[in-house]
Structure formats: structure tokens, C-alpha cells
């Protein structure tokens, strides 16, 4: 009996003891769903860079999930030192609801605090059996389109906005016709996943849908992961730039006394070293030399930005608020 008790106590201690009590500096990077492979490479690279530069050992912890879900969690107390999300409005939430960062966070780092970007691209099954070339082909009857829920996923929002921009151009701004186009598009979506990777899984693993619409970076990643013989990927004639916002979460970083390291982490993202990692992971980068080196993998396309569509605040109200254009389209489904 005594022996069992001792084993039990030892086991308990072992469990408790191993729950990290390391003194070394830790940063928590809260990031979006499809950035796993990317930050899986950047975070350790930064740790090595920092060790080299300052001699300080540091680990970067990671958390991944749908961008908006992650922002919500940070506001609710997931104490990130830095956030690397995929939507400006998600970072904005940290200012508006959490008071965790200043209103001028986009002024803190170059390119509106966005060290890299991607555009929206298409993935179709090999040989493109449904002949999908452009946005027009997505609203045809019988075509199944996969993209994540615009309400929970930045990825989905960009897709939705690109479709809206395309329709706006096509119908010369006739709102009724544009909404009709969007209604048809949404009607062709059999399932809305909450995040970008979920949509990829639906399309690739569960074999649902004729076309997956997601970030170019993800489309190229899928092709790399599953082979060029399985999927064709391309960027449509008109697309949207998704500028990925980053920020130091001032309030939490100050509490953890990691403001200096957190700032260095974000600055590191702009360095040639990190930009090269980004480009290798199929993100379009800001550094001219790195961009030139990888130019062949990024085709040119007419690209709109969220600013041109009225800015995120207006976009949020018009399209993604309760009763917005997206809700209208969903309510017409079946």
C-alpha cells in the first residue's frame, strides 16, 4: 500500500514538474490557421538569430487557428506577445475591444505593419474537368465551390471581396446585379469551414468541390504537398491582395517584460533572411531582392486592395455584419 502511494506521488510530481518551469525568455506568437508550416520555420530561425545577436536564449511558442477566433482568444486573455494574423480587422479588434494595442498599430512597422502578402488563387482538380478559369465559372449551376466562412476566416473574407470586386467591375457597379452574382456564388458552396485549412481539408482529403479558393500561398503549398499531378493552381484575372498584418501586443508584452524581443521579432520578419523563408513558403514579399529571386512563382494579375474597396470598417459593415450582403446571400440558399 505504502509503495503504491509512493509511486502515485512520484507520478504526480513528474507530471507537475514537467509543466515547463524554464527561466528562459518565451514569446508567444498567435497566428492564423494556414501559417503552421511558415512559422514553424520562422520562429526557430528568429530564436537562432536572437541568440546570435544578443546571446539570450529564447523560445517562440505558437498557437494556430482561424484568424478571427485567434484574435478573439487574445482579447479574452490568450496572452500573445506578438500576433501574426491574416486580416487587418482581426488585429484592429485587439485595439477596439481589448485595448491591448494602440490605435496607430499600423504605423509601427513598414507597409502598414504588413511584412508580406498573398493574393487569392484557385485550385482545381487535375485537368480542370469543369473548365474553371475565372470568377464567372464559379456561379454556373452544378459547380461546387469551396472557401471558408467569411465571418470566421480572413481567408474567406478576401475570397468574398475578390468575387464582389470582380462582379462590381463586370456589372459596372450595379448593386442588384452584383448581389445576384454573389447569391449564386454562395449557393454553390456546399460547406463553409471555419478556417482556411479546414477548407483545404474538405477539398483535398474529403474530395468535396470542383474548385478551392484560398490564398495563393496555400494553393502552391497544396500542390507541393500533394503533387502537381493531382491539382492545377492559378490566379484568376482579377484578384485581391491579402496583406497580412502583424503587431506587438503591447499590453501583454509589457506584462511579460518582452516588449524588446517582441519588437525585434516583428522587425525580423522584414529582414532578407525571413523574407526568403516567406517567399519559399509562397508568400509575396516586400524585399525587392528577394521578390526578384522568386519572381517566377508569382504571376502578375490585376490586383485590388481592401482600401480600394472602401477600407475594412466599411467592408465589415456592408458585407459581414448581421444582415449584411453575405447574410443576405446565405439566407437565399435553398
Amino acid at each position: 500500500m505504502n509503495k503504491t502511494y509512493r509511486y502515485f506521488a512520484a507520478g504526480l510530481l513528474l507530471l507537475l514538474g514537467t509543466s515547463q518551469l524554464r527561466a528562459e525568455t518565451q514569446l508567444l506568437n498567435v497566428s492564423y490557421d494556414v501559417a503552421r508550416e511558415l512559422y514553424g520555420q520562422i520562429d526557430p530561425a528568429f530564436a537562432a538569430y536572437w541568440k546570435n545577436k544578443t546571446g539570450e536564449s529564447l523560445t517562440v511558442k505558437e498557437s494556430f487557428g482561424g484568424s478571427s477566433k485567434q484574435a478573439r482568444a487574445v482579447v479574452e486573455g490568450l496572452e500573445a506577445d506578438v500576433v501574426t494574423l491574416n486580416q487587418v480587422s482581426d488585429v484592429e479588434l485587439l485595439h477596439k475591444q481589448g485595448g491591448l494595442i494602440g490605435a496607430d498599430w499600423q504605423k509601427q512597422f513598414p507597409y502598414n505593419s504588413s511584412p508580406y502578402y498573398s493574393v487569392i488563387g484557385f485550385v482545381v482538380r487535375k485537368g480542370n474537368p469543369k473548365g474553371i478559369k475565372n470568377w464567372d465559372d464559379l456561379v454556373k449551376p452544378g459547380v461546387q465551390v469551396i472557401f471558408p466562412n467569411p465571418k470566421t476566416s480572413g481567408n474567406g473574407r478576401y475570397t468574398y471581396l475578390a468575387a464582389w470586386a470582380y462582379a462590381g467591375k463586370k456589372f459596372n457597379g450595379d448593386q442588384a446585379k452584383v448581389q445576384d452574382f454573389i447569391n449564386k456564388l454562395v449557393a454553390n458552396v456546399p460547406v463553409f469551414d471555419t478556417g482556411g485549412r479546414g477548407a483545404t481539408t474538405t477539398f483535398v482529403e474529403r474530395q468535396i468541390g470542383d474548385v478551392l479558393i484560398t490564398f495563393e500561398a496555400e494553393t502552391l503549398g497544396i500542390q507541393k504537398q500533394y503533387g502537381k499531378d493531382k491539382f492545377d493552381v492559378f490566379v484568376p484575372g482579377l484578384t485581391i491582395a491579402a496583406e497580412f498584418p502583424v503587431a506587438v501586443v503591447d499590453k501583454y508584452a509589457a506584462a511579460h517584460k518582452t516588449a524588446r524581443q517582441a519588437k525585434a521579432f516583428i522587425e525580423y520578419l522584414y529582414s532578407p533572411e525571413a523574407q526568403d523563408i516567406l517567399a519559399r513558403n509562397f508568400y509575396r514579399v516586400r524585399d525587392n531582392n528577394v521578390a526578384a529571386k522568386y519572381a517566377s512563382q508569382f504571376p502578375n494579375a490585376e490586383t485590388v486592395t481592401a482600401e480600394q474597396l472602401g477600407g475594412w470598417e466599411k467592408i465589415g459593415k456592408t458585407h459581414f455584419s448581421d444582415g449584411g450582403t453575405f447574410d443576405q446571400a446565405v439566407s437565399l440558399k435553398r
Binding site: L15, T18, S19, Q20, R36, F64, E76, G77, G98
Partner: protein
Amino acid sequence: MKRHDTTPTLGISARLLIGAGIAASLFLIGIPLITIFSAAFKEGWQVYWKNISQPDTLAAIRLTVFAALVSVLVNTVFGVIAAWLLAHFRFPGRKLLLSLIELPLSMPSIVAGTAYLFIYGAQGWLGPWLMEHHLKIMFAVPGIILITVFVTCPFVIREILPVMESQGQDEEDAAHTLGANGWQILLRITLPKIRWGLFYGIMLCNARAFGEFGAVSVVSGAIRGETSTLTLQVDQLYHDYNSTGAFASATLLALITIVTLMIKLSIEHSSTAKSSDSITSSSMAAES
């Protein structure tokens, strides 16, 4: 041999029904279970072991075992006390207490997680106070334990309450008149009387603690190697294009279930004295 002859021969419809039942169970339960194991070992033992021994997965195992252990401990103590109270006393609010304890069974666990967030989250009632005192509950280990305790709370009580009610407390009363104190009564009479029910409850509580996903996913923050439980780890690995790794982790969860089932079966086999009452209640709990 003789007895075998006396059993009525099965008609064709009965045989068909039994066959259909077995086929359905195989299809619904057996095949998915086999799939998990075959997918996990698809690339061989070494890859399986490599996946299991990843630091993140090991951390997830540790956290899950720890959360389950605490949940079982807390719910056993609480369950015995509450069941005793409910079995032996009639008091105003008894029904209410009973329904309250059973609430986690009917409440979707994601709702439970969100509710905890509204209390302990940075924007919640207690959030600012907790922040001020540097107490981290949400998105940390305490939050995961709290929510697991909540979700698994009804299992022990549901198992032992019917046993206690059906057995009454004559023995306890007798012991009391003979001069036994409270601890002696508890350890020598009450616990031995309810031991099978209690054991069932603990098994179910444990299995549920291991399997919890929805509520934990809300309060965990999924920090790799720190607040990721086994179920979350399965989800993450699957989304990482590492389905072999996801299935490898899933085998651990499946093993827990299988071991639980085996223990349950062997107990049922060995204890003929078990009242049918608690068998029905345990199978009901298992369904939910």
C-alpha cells in the same frame, strides 16, 4: 450440453435481425476503430513511434493525463458526498441540485467552454481582477482542468446514486449505534457497498475527460506543447497535413476507450452481485 438442446432454435427472422445488428455495429463502430489503427501504423512502427514521441505530443499526453487525474479525484470526492446527500436526505431544492449536477450531460460542451470564458476570460466578470493578480486561468492549464472537471462532473454521481438509493442505509445506522465514527462508516461500510458503481463512474469520468474536445478547444488557446490536449493535438496534426501523426495520437485515445471497456466487461463478468439498477444507469451514461 443438455442445456444447449433446450434453447429454442432461432427462426429465420431472428437470425436476420441478429445478423443485421452485428453488421451495423461492425460498420458503425468496428470499422472506424480499425481504420484508426491501420492509418496510424500505415508507415510502420518506427514512424508511429516517432509521431508519438514528438515533444508536443508528449506534452499533450502529460496534460491530458493530468487533467483526467484531477477530474477523477475531484469528481470522486464530490460525487460520493453529493450522492450520499441526495440519497439520504429529502430537502427543499433537492431536485434542483440533481438537475444542476446533470446539466453538463445535456449542455453542449462548447457552450460550457464559452460560459467559462465569460467568467474567467480577460473580458469576463472575474477577468480584470485575475489579470491584476497575475492569475492565469483561461488559456492555461487551470482553465483546461476546470472545464474538464465541469464536463465530467455528473458521471460518478449518476453511477452511485441509484446504488445508494436502492441499498438504503440500515448498515450505516447500525454501525452508528455500535459507536463507529463517520470515517469508519464511510471507509468500512458505505464505500464497500457502492464500490462497483463508484468504479464504473470513475471509468466513465476518466474516458470522458480524455475525450473532451469542444469545451477545451474554447479555453485552451492551443499553445503547442503547453495547453494542447490529446484531442486538440489530433485536430492540429490532422490540419498540419500529418494525418499519420493525427491517427497515431488518436490510437492513444482509442486505447483508453478499449481498456475502459475491457475493465468494465471483466467487472461485469466477475461481479454477479451487481444490481441491475446500476447497469442500466451506466449504459445510459455511456450513451450520452
